[in-house]
């Protein structure tokens, strides 16, 4: 599904290399986790994959089902089925959550040559998905993420994912700032979306999210590279010993 080869990325403004030859392959239907210390480049990877400005790819490639991602606009990547759940979801005052979601869904449908959803059908769809995530109607009416608690913002990200039905979902520190109950709700939402034709890349600093979203494969990232890949037991190793041993081992 997602194939990243020898990816080198630097900050446009500062000429500072951040990703330094990253290789990663995520197979269809699988859940991969990336763990790593702060500053190792995890968010940068998620932004570069989804097309944020400010980064320059100096080497390497990233493909989604054989389609080159890096040459596309962010909206094109979304239409291809890529979704990033933001570490810090953005507040947009004055734009209703529903308007935002419907605009996004219909823009994608239109770009794929599908019919746009009517207001009525859309409402039905969102209500159904929102119920599963315990998002109430009031939250849907409010402006995008404005006045949402940390947990509400993250649930709203998962709601968008549920409505847009992407095939490749990247979750950047979706557990950060959440208490255990909120995290469970988010994890349940993600687990409900697991499907044979969908893959996940779950980025996290801590192991605890992975108790709820069980990964098939765990990668350890440090200084812009994947330094180790293993099964779920790798996450437990980090939990018990921290990153120090793994980092030392890599050197």
């Amino acid at each position: 599904m997602l194939k990243i080869q020898n990816l080198h990325v630097k900050l446009e403004a500062e000429d500072k290399p951040i990703l330094k030859g990253l290789d990663l392959t995520v197979e269809t239907g699988k859940v991969h986790a990336i763990m790593g210390p702060n500053g190792s480049g995890k968010s940068t990877l998620s932004y570069v994959l989804s097309g944020r400005d400010g980064y320059e790819v100096t080497q390497g490639s990233a493909e989604l089902d054989g389609v080159d991602l890096l040459s596309q606009e962010p909206e094109e990547r979304a239409t291809e089925g890529l979704f990033l759940a933001f570490q810090y979801p953005v507040e947009i005052p004055g734009v209703g959550n529903m308007t935002f979601l419907r605009t996004a869904l219909n823009a994608q449908r239109k770009a794929r040559g599908e019919a746009e959803l009517s207001a009525g059908d859309f409402l039905k769809l969102v209500r159904e998905k929102a119920r599963a995530l315990k998002i109430d109607a009031e939250m849907l009416k409010r402006p995008v993420n404005v006045g949402f608690s940390g947990g509400e913002k993250k649930r709203n990200e998962i709601l968008q994912m549920a409505v847009l039905e992407p095939k490749m979902c990247i979750l950047d520190e979706t557990d950060s700032g959440l208490d255990v109950d909120a995290m469970k709700l988010v994890a349940d939402g993600v687990n409900a979306l697991r499907a044979p034709d969908r893959a996940f890349l779950v980025i996290t600093h801590y192991q605890r999210l992975l108790d709820h979203i069980r990964p098939d494969v765990v990668h350890i990232m440090a200084d812009g590279r994947i330094i180790k890949t293993g099964g779920p037991e790798l996450a437990l190793e980090v939990e018990q010993n921290g990153y120090a041993d793994l980092l030392a081992e890599a050197k």
Partner: protein, 423 residues
């Protein structure tokens, strides 16, 4: 700029053309003297540094392209009338408690209720800042609404047309709302190739006045408007202006709060795209707090692109003794490119100690993080930008109290942004 002799000649011609012996005569003569004393403005005048008055000063207007046809702003049950190039259409039959007349028809009569308003609020609004084009209007205008509400809540809907391609239109509306009565005034369209509109509003204690105005989408507009209001105790004045493009648009609001616990809100949204013609959009506001416990609010937002210029000059003056004043002012611009500019001059002048006044002015670009967030959900760049413009304007739009009118303004806005077909 016209020389003084030329101005004098010109004013004399205008006075000759105006009705003689009517209830406005004394006000016209006084306005002529005021204007001769102050002269027409130039770029050196403090409040004309950002906006070049040359096209307003010119003896004759430049012929203008026809305005883009637009649906009028409308409200259910409104009393509708038109002015085309300054010429009034038929006057609708007014319900009890509402008296609608025309300046053109009443001007010759020597006694009229509007006699205590015409040119009077304008004259007192000349201190401390000169408003020469308002004085010129008082000298010149031969048509306008004379609107008096003594009870009830009428809605009056005025639609403007240009009349001809080189029309030079002067309209002067006089409004009085009696104690406990309420008036909604809607204005839409462009009144001339060049137009100069003065509205004088006298609000009795407890009166309520809502004003909503849409200045058309056409680019070829040169207009100056003034609203002078006298706001008595417990009265409420609310005015909202929506404008698109326009070569030169200057809207002045001069609000005099004279009674305790009164409210004055003015707000505006202006969208300027200088791609086809230059755009200059200027809001100049002066609010005087002369009583205790009053609240004033100024909320102005401008979205500018392709070299458009936005100007905001807003002042709050709190007179001695006007304690417990709550004055708020915000002016913000969103520049969609680096060619456009926003020039702001916020001012506070406070002579009372127990007041709460704040002002803020910002100039910014589209938030890149928010833009990326929207695009990452599949929304194309143009549409994402448009949504962020709506987001930027939201709290100014929220100043419109009537939801049906707010919807009509939002529809125009979405149309301008190319979002029309989405909803």
């Amino acid at each position: 700029m016209a020389t003084e002799a030329k101005l004098r000649d010109d004013l004399d011609t205008r006075l000759r053309d105006a009705p003689r012996g009517g209830f406005t005569q004394a006000a016209r003569v006084a306005a002529r003297a005021r204007l001769l004393a102050m002269g027409l403005p130039g770029r050196r005048d403090e409040y004309w540094r950002f906006t070049d008055p040359a096209e307003l000063n010119a003896a004759l207007p430049v012929a203008a392209e026809d305005p883009v046809a637009e649906a009028p702003l409308s409200a259910d049950g409104a009393l509708a009338l038109r002015f085309d190039g300054g010429r009034a259409g038929p006057v609708p039959a007014a319900p009890a408690g509402c008296d609608i007349g025309l300046l053109g028809a009443a001007d010759a009569s020597d006694i009229h209720w509007a006699g205590s308003i015409y040119g009077t609020l304008e004259a007192s609004g000349q201190m401390p800042v000169k408003r020469p084009f308002a004085a010129l209007n008082t000298v010149t205008a031969t048509e306008g609404l004379l609107l008096r509400v003594t009870s009830g809540k009428p809605v009056v809907q005025v639609e403007y047309g240009v009349g001809s391609r080189d029309s030079d239109t002067y309209l002067h509306h006089c409004i009085r709302v009696a104690e406990g009565a309420e008036l909604t005034l809607i204005e839409a369209g462009r009144a001339g190739a060049r137009s100069n509109i003065v509205i004088e509003v006298d609000l009795a204690p407890g009166a309520r006045f809502h004003h909503i105005r849409a200045q058309g989408r056409d680019a070829d507009r040169r207009t100056i408007t003034h609203i002078f209001a006298r706001i008595s105790a417990g009265a409420s004045f609310k005015s909202f202006t929506y404008g698109e493009n326009g070569r030169l648009t200057r809207n002045e609001a001069i609000l005099d709060i004279v009674g305790d616990h009164a409210v004055a809100h003015v707000a505006g949204v202006a969208l300027g795209n200088g791609a086809v013609q230059p755009v200059l959009q200027d809001d100049t506001v002066f609010i005087t707090h002369g009583a205790v416990g009053c609240e004033s609010r100024q909320v102005y937002k401008k979205v500018l692109r392709n070299g458009a210029t936005g100007v905001f000059q807003g002042k709050i003056l709190v007179k001695p003794g006007a304690q417990k004043t709550d004055g708020y002012q915000i002016s913000q611009s969103l520049l969609l490119d680096e060619d456009s500019q926003f020039l702001a001059k916020p001012e506070l002048e406070i002579y009372a100690d127990d007041v709460k006044c704040s002002h803020g002015s910002t100039t910014g670009a589209i938030d890149e993080t928010a833009l990326f967030y929207l695009r990452s959900r599949g929304v194309g760049k143009d549409r994402a930008t448009a949504l962020l413009v709506l987001s930027f304007l939201a709290d100014a739009i929220a100043e419109i109290e009537d939801p049906a009118l707010a919807d009509q303004i939002v529809a125009r806005l979405e149309d301008w942004l190319g979002l029309g077909e989405a909803e």
